[in-house]
Amino acid sequence: MTAVGLERGRADHDSLLGETRTWPVVVQLARRSVVLITRLPSAFIPSVVFPVFLILAFSGSFNGLRGANAFDNAMSWYAPLAVIQGAAFVGVGAGFSANREIESGFYDRLLLAPAPTVSLLLGPALATVLRALVPLVTVMVVALLGGAAVPGGALGFATLTLAAMGTALIHAFWCLGLAYRFKSQRAAPVMQIGVFVTNFLATAQVPLHLMTGWLHSVARVNPMTNVFRLGRAGWVEDVRWENCWGGVLALAVFISLSFWFAWRGLKRMIP
């Protein structure tokens, strides 16, 4: 293509871009991603099955920790872990999808489309929030059927939903950022390991006072400890602001940072 042709193409692209609004593109991209749940169930089912297994396995195996003053109700303690872990894996799924589409060449077409660039991030983000509702609701139902108590009532469900959605967004943006940089499925293990490292080096399994040595030191400063505290705020006792603000702050900071990471990666991909 000549320089004049390239300039004309850019001008056409910019004029079309001026006519395209962000929100409808975001909704369509999110819709496409949600529809993929039925078209590619094998990619989504693990993010529902794994949290259900997690809550059953942890509450069953570590039920005896009640005697060690860890918690009163194992289901109530581990339900937020399973919900947040499930949401994190839904976020990782956004990175997997981006990897797949970058490798298949579909992402190049998306980048060439006259759509606002930010919609390429906000679309998967909206889809992540919608998709994260499935493991959230499933695990909550399993937990309640399994005998979980929610002393915080409706507010307890709300704080857990907030913690789960925030975590899903952090992992979605982080994994999109990785996908834009690696541009291949080789990034998948890095994306998955991120979930395990951030969650299990926090109060995922047991409260801080039961931990010893290096894990206690790490978990004390790990922001995910605050997110778990927010998620469990209404599940282990009544919701109190002092149990919530740290988590809300951690989510706000890390959503912003991960968004910035993804945005920078996306900008580098634009021709």
Binding site: G60, S61, A68
Partner: protein, 266 residues
């Protein structure tokens, strides 16, 4: 002919072991992840035995109330379970690449194809057990059963590796797909979790406790753990060895039936 079969088996076993050794990505994760999991769990749950002893006077984690001792066998079992899948994956890889078909067109004894693969799994299991014993010893774990008790661990580990490797090979022969063999990983994870590996069954409750108590892995793990926590006991040692031994016999039988069926359908 017998000597020839033996020579073939030795050659294929050697190939299997060398094959695993040359691919660190196959055996390193099954060494590293259980150790990471052990480091995490011992820091997270290290206080629990002492708290239960102080509050209720019970010692479900052994007479010394040391979580690291309790975790020893769990880590070993976890590593062996996950590492043993590699034998099946390698066989599936041979089938996918066409090597298996070339092998069966040669006058090689059919059993030696399987024995060769399974020997690789068993060797990896035994070596893993020795590595874990060394690392746990370095971190202060002790085997109360002494040398006799310590010997039970690699033997049980090798038999378990044979059992899981056998099942993985049967899957490989049946499906011819590496992905299908790797798909067994979550099942192994669930089987391990719903056992006495990470927490004593006496502290569990309800249906979970019932399933964990009757899980064959629990019988094996408790037998091995007895050697570590309480001392050598012949009955418990037999339990630790016979359960994976019986599973291995079943798995090898299944493997042979699947192989015969695959060869008959050609």
């Amino acid at each position: 002919m017998a000597a020839s079969t033996l020579a073939q088996t030795v050659a294929l076993s050697r190939r299997s072991v060398v094959n695993i050794w040359r691919q660190p990505q196959v055996w390193v994760p099954s060494l590293l992840f259980p150790l990471l999991f052990a480091a995490l769990n011992s820091a997270a749950l290290g206080k629990v035995p002492g708290q239960l002893a102080d509050r209720f006077g019970i010692h479900p984690f052994g007479p010394n109330d040391r979580f690291v001792d309790f975790l020893f066998v769990a880590t070993l079992t976890q590593g062996v379970l996950f590492g043993s899948l590699s034998g099946g994956s390698e066989l599936a890889q041979d089938i996918e690449s066409g090597f298996f078909d070339r092998l069966v067109t040669t006058p090689v004894a059919r059993a030696s194809i399987l024995v060769g693969r399974l020997a690789g799994s068993a060797a990896l299991g035994a070596v893993q057990a020795l590595v874990f014993i060394g690392i746990f010893f370095a971190f202060g774990a002790r085997v109360a059963g002494g040398a006799a008790g310590a010997l039970v661990l690699p033997v049980a580990a090798a038999l378990l590796a044979l059992a899981i490797g056998g099942l993985a090979c049967a899957m490989a022969i049946r499906t011819g797909s590496v992905e299908a063999v790797q798909g067994a990983f979550p099942l192994l994870f669930i089987t391990l979790f719903v056992s006495s590996a990470f927490f004593p069954t006496v502290l569990m409750k309800g249906w979970y406790r019932a399933v964990a108590t009757h899980n064959p892995l629990t019988y094996m793990i408790d037998g091995m753990r007895h050697q570590v926590l309480y001392g050598f006991d012949a009955g418990q040692a037999a339990r630790a060895v016979l359960v994976p031994g019986a599973l291995a016999a079943l798995a090898i039988g299944l493997c042979l039936v699947t192989l015969r069926s695959r060869l008959a359908s050609r």
